[in-house]
């Protein structure tokens, strides 16, 4: 667990300066920093000490780790493991049992106040949090312990960021996000199901370069990646503006690559970098493959109505209308009967006035 500088480490690994500068330039552009910053990133990063990173996986599907490790972008993600010292990650580490837990405890002790805590997965709270435990301890317990000495926490994936699928109705385990529990540490939410690997890399590079976390939006996501909607940067946007929509997945519109809004695309309400950064080494993103956006980087996307109903369409059936019509008719008839009775009552107490009565009043 040597913590030499990143520059030394990269040289040892045989990574050329050219490859490293290319990486820094890519990071600068991906984070929308001025081009000149690439050199600053290179300088700062080569002098930076590799931070210790503890990665805790809670109620999750390992999709986030899969996304990170299986990205094809050359060297980008392999660089991650050179940029940081990943001291605990129970899917990737070779150690198991007590040895594995020891490495976590050692890292927490040796780098107290300095290590980065990465969390993927939500934390169950119901029934004392027993629905997810590691080495006999609940996720809540592990998170609170690890968060105490963390410099910052990176919540990777929608589960850790917003509760995700475990948090979907009816949420049997009482799953919550990291930021629902940890209030006294900076938390960055890298949402997505799974999140884009380059975003994880970008946030780490930013932290190493500037010694601080990037600017966040109101949901705690880095603005440089989540600042715009999928719809705003979608290559199918011109078709939306022209009102050309695919109506089914195999009609002429779909074959012509028209907008998928009417097929339930959640691009207009989803903030993420898929449309620009893309997936699988820049190959494509879901809309490019002909399927609408599911909105996976937004909180509660699982509960936001059907994936296949347009955003402006009713999310559920109008179940109250028939009852309302019957109730309306019944009350209407009731009121009209009441009015009849009122009229009859008024008629029965009516006294015909004679001229004599009127004269009497006049006097």
């Amino acid at each position: 667990m040597d913590h030499e500088t990143l520059g030394e480490r990269l040289r040892e690994q045989g990574i050329s300066r050219r490859a490293f500068l290319k990486f820094c330039a890519a990071m600068a552009s991906i984070m929308a920093l001025p081009p000149g910053t690439a050199n600053a990133i290179a300088d700062a990063m080569s002098k930076a000490t590799r931070p210790s990173v503890i990665w805790l996986s809670f109620q999750e599907c390992t999709g986030c780790t899969e996304s990170l490790t299986r990205s094809y972008t050359p060297t980008l993600e392999s660089l991650i493991f050179d940029m940081i010292s990943l001291d605990y990650h129970h899917t990737l580490q070779a150690a198991s049992g007590f040895a594995a837990e020891k490495s976590r405890i050692d890292a927490m002790r040796n780098f107290y106040g300095k290590y980065l805590l990465v969390v993927d997965g939500s934390i169950p709270l119901h029934d004392g949090g027993i629905y997810s435990t590691i080495a006999g301890r609940t996720n809540l317990d592990l998170l609170q312990e690890a968060a105490k000495g963390a410099a910052a926490i990176i919540a990777v994936g929608t589960c850790a960021s917003f509760g995700g699928i475990p948090n979907a109705k009816p949420n049997p385990t009482g799953a919550v996000s990291v930021s629902d529990i940890i209030k006294d540490k900076p938390v960055v939410n890298i949402s997505g199901c799974p999140p884009i690997p380059a975003v994880i890399t970008g946030v780490l590079a930013h932290y190493l370069t500037f010694g601080a976390l990037p600017e966040l939006d109101d949901l705690g996501r880095p603005r440089s990646f989540y600042g715009e909607t999928i719809h705003d940067r979608c290559y199918r946007r011109p078709f939306y503006d022209q009102g050309k929509f695919a109506k089914t997945f195999d009609d002429e519109g779909a074959r012509n690559g028209w907008c998928l809004f009417e097929l339930g695309c959640k691009g207009p309400t989803t903030h993420n970098a898929c449309a620009t950064t893309k997936w699988n080494g820049g190959t494509s993103f879901p809309i490019e493959s002909g399927h609408g956006c599911l909105g996976c980087s937004e909180p509660h996307f699982w509960d936001a109505g059907s994936f296949y109903s347009a955003l402006s369409m009713p999310a559920s059936a109008l179940s109250l209308s028939t009852d309302a019509a019957i109730a309306g008719a019944a009350i209407g008839v009731g009121v009209s009967i009441a009015n009849r009775f009122k009229k009859r009552a008024a008629k029965s107490v009516h006294v015909t006035a004679t001229i004599a009565d009127l004269e009497k009043q006049h006097e």
Partner: protein, 219 residues
């Protein structure tokens, strides 16, 4: 509750409740009004009952003599915003799609650019009638809270619809949710305010014309 959940609620349970109240209120009011009845008129009609009712339905759409000159803006803007609302609400592709998804009934739509122009004109005309209402002493005197509330309930859906379509001011998620909830508020209050004229207009005009004719004021 975040924006996405708010949007999901307004297009789910919110819409369900609003349409429920709208259907209930409209049926209730229509039944209440049309079952009210009148005492049998025992007098011989002064005028042979003809088409006075039907005539009045149309005649009331024209300004009475001299009135147009007195406040042309009311008539022009009034007509413009009513026709504008008809176009924007019933002839835009988005709204037809919605009606089709709820009822299966659909009809051809107008181009988006035309709807856009109609929306802007409608908004301008509505602002003009509000200015008239505030500026003309008699109108201001006759106006109650309900008049201003009804104006606001009608204006907001048009405004938020335009802003949502063009992704202005707020993120689309929030603006679309505001648009839908503003329409829901309109639906909820429509049966219980003067906005009920949507349904009662033709009937009451016909009734007035008919009764006036029987009293000898035929048209």
């Amino acid at each position: 509750m975040n924006e996405v959940l708010f949007l999901t609620w307004v297009r789910g349970m919110g819409l369900n409740i609003a349409i429920g109240i709208f259907v209930l209120g409209t049926l209730l009011r229509l039944l209440e009004i049309y079952t009210l009845g009148r005492k049998p008129d025992l007098a011989t009609p002064r005028h042979r009952a003809g088409a006075s009712g039907l005539h009045t339905v149309f005649r009331r759409s024209l300004p009475p003599p001299g009135m147009f000159k007195k406040s042309p803006a009311s008539y022009v803007a009034g007509y413009v915003f009513h026709i504008g609302l008809f176009i924007v609400v019933l002839l835009s592709a988005q709204h037809i799609k919605l009606i089709q998804s709820l009822t299966g009934v659909w009809w051809p739509n107008l181009p988006a650019q035309f709807i856009d122009a109609a929306t802007v004109v409608t908004l301008a005309a509505m602002v003009l009638v509000l200015v008239e209402r505030i500026n003309k002493p008699v109108k201001r005197f006759l106006s109650t809270f309900e008049d201003y509330a009804a104006w606001m309930l009608t204006f907001l859906p048009v405004l938020t619809g335009y802003l949502a379509t063009h992704h202005l001011l707020l993120p689309y998620t929030a603006m679309l949710a505001l648009h839908i909830i503003s329409v829901e508020l309109l639906l909820v209050f429509l049966p219980f305010t003067k906005l009920m004229h949507v349904f009662t207009l033709w009937g009451s005009r016909w009734y007035n014309g008919d009764v006036n004719a029987k009293k000898g004021v035929a048209v």
